[in-house]
Amino acid sequence: EAGVAQSPRYKIIEKRQSVAFWCNPISGHATLYWYQQILGQGPKLLIQFQNNGVVDDSQLPKDRFSAERLKGVDSTLKIQPAKLEDSAVYLCASSPRDTYTEAFFGQGTRLTVV
């Protein structure tokens, strides 16, 4: 079974620039999560999709972050404009149902904002 694919693996940008991350979940998984993990901290949920609908985006900084999951399959997360404090690993996870125990994580994208 192919895992959750994320790209790019690494990204370095200057503050105020824009960046986008891509995630392709495991085939058939209805639920997709985007997490932000700052160094030394646990993951923080940014947004949860169920198919192509948003279930929870309460912790997404909507003034600069946006995410979409068109057609209920792959997803993109965008930051515009980036700030220094956005430096983190962005993890995508998917699960067949709305249950964290069956969630599989991708390898993440490490973003450095300079």
Binding site: Q41, P43, S58, Y100, T101, F105, Q107
Partner: protein
């Protein structure tokens, strides 16, 4: 405010030692406690605990939950260098709240 606190923050032991990692929580509407192992960047699921006093076991790893005292422990016996990782605890209430993790280093 809901919170999950893990201790110690980091731990260095020698191969063959036994380690105990702690996770304490204050989470509204507790539903479950989850343990994950994070190597490099991707966390992988280890255990889900919902009931007090029932040990979950997988090989050399085991975990137990105390819902009265609001904590869980993760034990690893006969540690190996491959156990080196960050171990994350997450508690599911109205949302999934993550701890900061324990960084475990196993020296050969």
């Amino acid at each position: 405010e809901d919170k999950v606190v893990q201790s110690p923050l980091s731990l260095v032991v020698h191969e063959g030692d036994t380690v105990t990692l702690n996770c304490s929580y204050e989470v509204t509407n507790f539903r479950s406690l989850l343990w994950y192992k994070q190597e490099k960047k991707a966390p992988t699921f280890l255990f889900m605990l919902t009931s007090s006093g029932i040990e979950k076991k997988s090989g050399r790893l085991s975990s137990i939950l105390d819902k009265k005292e609001l904590f869980s422990i993760l034990n690893i016996t006969a540690t190996q260098t491959g156990d080196s990782a960050i171990y994350l605890c997450a508690v599911e209430g109205y949302q999934l709240i993550w701890g900061a993790g324990t960084k475990l280093i196993i020296k050969p």
